[in-house]
């Protein structure tokens, strides 16, 4: 039986090693090499790329990434919680409402990001609409700033908080809420003193599920932030295309990976249950 099982796992292992782990190992190596004259890689081995990261410019990008990801996560949790609460109380129609949340998520991410471009541009729907109604005379710069990026990220990842929050709320023992009411707690108090604290696992799970992709986001800050809202993802992409500084790009990538893995360990310690 074990031999059969090995055959079942071997192909996936091969793909995983050759096309995922090996490439990561390669950029780990590249991060310690030097940029060639025409781009590419040459000797000598050096830690110079990592040292360059300390530059204020790059630290600013790192900081911006954290604050954008953090703001997006917070907003996702704040907006997602009441929605999850609503769905968990929806009785027979729970699955329908849940599906309604997830549906936009599984259509194209690119299209959904573009939709916000369409809405927020100077000549986009919102500005045209407000101008037509006479509220403003010149278009508002709604696009190409941190706010637009946060909006795009929240729109993209909101379902990632709704799902785990809903899962936790659904499993909540209703009799605890009844007990609270029985002991004199008004609805708001029950919410803040009982429901929210008991939802902590879902909140934690949702936070991590949103924060990590937001931290490493590329498409959203690229399209909605223009060149004005540069995050780690944009920096990395830039190093591998325009700037052709592969060692530096690799170093930034590995720092991002390191942050992601630290966050995952923090969560693993708290939970103990993985996706797989």
């Amino acid at each position: 039986m074990n031999r059969l099982r090995a055959w079942f796992l071997a192909p996936t292992w091969t793909v995983n090693i050759v096309l995922f782990l090996a490439p990561l190992a390669i950029i780990l190596g590249y991060s310690f090499l030097t940029r060639g004259v025409y781009g590419g890689i040459t000797a000598p081995w050096t830690a110079e790329s990592y040292q360059r990261l300390i530059d204020p410019i790059y630290l600013a990008i790192l900081w911006r990434s954290f604050w954008v990801a953090g703001a997006s996560t917070a907003l996702c949790l704040l907006l997602g919680f009441p929605l999850a609460l609503f769905i968990s109380r929806a009785g027979r129609h729970k699955n329908f409402y849940l599906g309604l949340v997830m549906l936009p998520f599984w259509t194209s991410f690119l299209v959904r990001t573009y939709a916000w471009m369409f809405l927020l541009r100077d000549t986009g729907l919102l500005n045209t609409f407000l101008q037509k109604l006479g509220f403003i005379h010149t278009p508002l710069p709604l696009l190409y700033n941190d706010g637009a990026v946060i909006l795009g990220l929240v729109y993209g990842y909101l379902p990632f908080t709704v799902l785990p929050l809903y899962a936790t709320l659904e499993r909540l023992d209703r009799t605890l809420l009844e007990a609270a009411a029985d002991l004199g707690a008004k609805p708001w108090a029950t919410l803040t003193r009982v429901t929210i604290p008991l939802s902590a696992p879902g909140i934690r799970a949702g936070a991590i599920l949103v924060f990590i992709p937001c931290l490493g986001a590329y498409l959203t800050p690229d399209l909605l932030g223009g060149g004005k809202s540069v995050m780690i993802g944009n920096l990395i992409q830039n190093q591998f295309t325009t700037a052709r500084d592969w060692p530096f790009g690799s170093a930034v990538s590995l720092v991002l990976m390191a942050i992601v893995m630290v966050l995952l360990f923090v969560i693993a310690r708290g939970e103990g249950e993985g996706l797989l």
Binding site: T12, L119, T123, Y155, Q237
Partner: protein
């Protein structure tokens, strides 16, 4: 609880509007006869333009080919892997698959690019459809494994024992007892892998060759230059297409 119930319901309506309006508006304006953001009348000209644009149709075909091949390969590999893990977990493999899911796409993409360029020193190959397909297989497998393993966990483990007891060997037990039970889940996983592959921009843009442009790459290029109503039309088509696939997938996943 009643008053707060209504408040919550109102909020929910707002939230659902937030989630769905942008796409709805986009779809509505894809029928706008004007290229500006003022409604001027119903028209199908942008759909016609989209379907006649060779760059769009060729890239869509590329996306389709890539997605189909990548889906078939990743579904087969992923299903076998899920079955193996269900029998006995392998923490390293499960962990590595999980890692491939949470790694930011930009990192996966550039690492693959670096890997390919390094390989190309030894083999006489270039970036092209095959490099894209391999990349898609790599990131799709984890999705397939997740969906199929979830389905396997609903299967009674003693069924395979009963099959062995009745004279079937290990392969026959999988083929005649377990596989039929998980087939809806496998199809759901395949649909999921398809949508993930078709929609991918970040990784594809980094490892695609000159002649293997995909639809997301073309859309991205157009969108970057400005709001183009043709993109609205394509977007509407994609939303409806994907939406239907996902609905079918969900239905299958839970039968």
């Amino acid at each position: 609880m009643k008053p707060r119930g209504t408040g919550l319901a109102i909020y929910a309506v707002g939230a659902y509007l937030f989630l769905h309006l942008p796409l709805l508006i986009l779809s509505i304006f894809s029928f706008n006869s004007s290229r500006f953001t003022v409604w001027e009348g119903f028209s199908l000209r942008w759909y016609s333009a989209a379907l006649h644009d060779t760059q769009l149709t060729e890239s869509a075909l590329n996306s389709l080919i890539i997605a189909v091949v990548a889906t078939v390969v990743s579904t087969v590999l992923g299903t076998l892997c899920a079955y193996g893990l269900w029998k006995r977990n392998s923490r390293p493999l499960a962990g590595s698959l999980y890692l491939s899911l949470v790694t930011p796409e930009i990192v996966t993409g550039i690492s693959l690019l670096a890997f390919y360029q390094w390989i190309f020193r030894f083999l006489r190959v270039q970036l092209g459809m095959h490099t894209v397909i391999l990349a898609h297989v790599s990131f799709s497998i984890a999705y397939v494994v997740i969906v199929v393993i979830a389905r396997l966990r609903t299967v009674d483990a003693t069924l395979e024992e009963a099959a062995l007891d009745l004279g079937a060997n290990e392969w026959q037990a999988f083929r005649y007892v377990t596989l039929p039970a998980i087939l809806p889940g496998v199809i759901a996983a395949a649909l999921l892998a398809f949508t993930v592959s078709f929609d991918d921009y970040v990784i594809t843009s980094l490892v695609a060759g000159v002649d293997s442009e995909t639809l997301p790459m073309v859309i991205y290029a157009i969108a970057r230059r400005g709001v183009n109503p043709v993109v609205n039309a394509i977007s509407a088509l994609i939303v409806i297409g994907f939406g239907s696939l996902v609905l079918v997938s969900e239905r299958l996943r839970t039968t």
